[in-house]
Amino acid sequence: MSRSYLALFMRFVVLVAAQVLIVDHINLGGYISPALYLLFIILLPFQVPGWFLLVSSFFLGMSIDIFSNSTGLNAAASVFVAFVRPAVIRGVGAPADYEGHLNPGIPDMGAQWFITYSTVLILIHQLMIGILESFYLSEAGTILLRVILSSAVTLLMIVIVEYLFMRRKR
């Protein structure tokens, strides 16, 4: 188990670095700020304990916040995503072999399951960011546009990265 935690830590570092050094610098027009780092929460193993899910998501969000001077914004959104993740998994359909070593990735769960599950989490995450970033109701239209466009690009990125780096099933 400790080895898999080490692997998770590596994934954490790589995703934060990719987010703040690459993704945040891609200019896709003013509305779109994709959150590739969410892949960390999406890919946490099914059997990971609840406290670990919440605490690691909090630190993930905080790391992103420190780099973008948005104290608390990404942390709040990430913790919320971590909180709803178990319910989303149940909603989309949990695997029968829950105690086994299945991961919520494409190799174990299939592309269709993965995309549905990721889309829900990404939308919740972007919606949280949109709401927390701007409390003005007058900007609701802009926020919604931002949420939809950012979510679409985030989903695309996450699916591409998952396809590129997934370990094939033996």
């Binding site: 779109i32 420190i66 001077n69 970033e133 802009t142």
Partner: protein
């Protein structure tokens, strides 16, 4: 008591969520200077170091454009030198100038982190306390205004970009000598909004907007943008004006941090007035 503890333990996932979420939201809401300074000082050495290395690599790709901008600015500055002008008055020129005192001090800084796609954008620069930077200094580039310094650490500072919900700059349409306030509505990073211009003045597309110099932060007459859309809403007394930023926020590389040397005196004086 035992039941309460048992209840919390039973729902520990929910309570841990509540604690972490409350902590995050407290961090968003509580933006006191002191707290920010503490966080910035703890984290900026790491984040600043990483961004510095990163921008020293990517900076090479922008050298050509930056050189062109510098050359253009040099040419403009040459024109203002005495050697570049013909004396039309034959009277003696006094070189010892006792009438003018330096009002603003300029420090060159490099942008090491920047964003334009968030609702509230911030820029990190490679100058800090060591270089005499303090909060509330203006940041401009040769094209126009960029933002305001909000927090400083030893070697770095964070600048609130003009593309931010909290950014407000006092500005003026020079042709009409009309004062307004520059804000950003959060939709398009290319366009800013000018508010508080009354509908009885005749604003035209293409009018230039400059800083008014009434803010103790920005010097007077720094370009802000060029007016693009003008709308009047039924029953409103002020225009909805969109203008195009003269600074290109997406390609910021070098900027000037501007210190108003009289700021403290001005703020002190304005306090006296407000107190009375």
């Amino acid at each position: 008591m035992r039941y309460i503890l048992a209840f919390i333990w039973k729902h520990r996932f929910f309570f841990l969520f509540l604690v972490l979420e409350a902590l995050s939201i407290a961090l968003i809401v509580n933006k006191s200077y002191y707290q920010r300074a503490v966080i910035t000082n703890m984290t900026d050495n790491v984040t600043g170091g990483i961004f510095n290395t990163y921008s020293s690599i990517t900076g090479y790709f922008r050298l050509k454009g930056e050189n062109e901008k510098l050359a253009a600015e040099n040419a403009m500055l040459w024109q203002t030198l005495k050697e570049g002008q013909v004396t039309t008055d034959t009277a003696t020129i006094y070189l010892e100038d006792t009438l003018n005192r330096q009002n603003y001090r300029y420090t060159v800084a490099k942008v090491i982190s920047n964003s334009t796609s968030n609702r509230n954008n911030y820029i990190m620069l490679n100058k800090g306390i060591r270089h005499g930077i303090t909060p509330d200094m203006a940041v401009i580039n040769p094209q126009g205004i960029v933002g305001t310094v909000v927090s400083v650490s030893q070697n770095f500072c964070w600048v609130m970009s003009a593309l931010n919900k909290h950014a407000k700059v006092s500005a003026r349409i020079n042709r009409l000598n009309q004062m307004g306030t520059v804000v950003w509505q959060g939709s398009n990073p290319r366009l800013g909004s000018l508010t508080d211009i009354p509908v009885h003045v005749k604003v035209a597309k293409g009018d230039s907007v400059y800083t008014s110099g009434y803010s103790y932060i920005f010097p007077e007459g720094i370009m802000v943008g060029t007016i693009e859309n003008i709308k009047v809403r039924e029953g409103e007394h002020f225009y909805d004006i969109d203008f195009e930023w003269s600074a290109d926020f997406n390609s910021l590389t070098y900027v000037y941090i501007v210190k108003n040397l009289f700021r403290e005196e001005q703020v002190e004086l304005s306090k006296e007035v407000i107190d009375e």
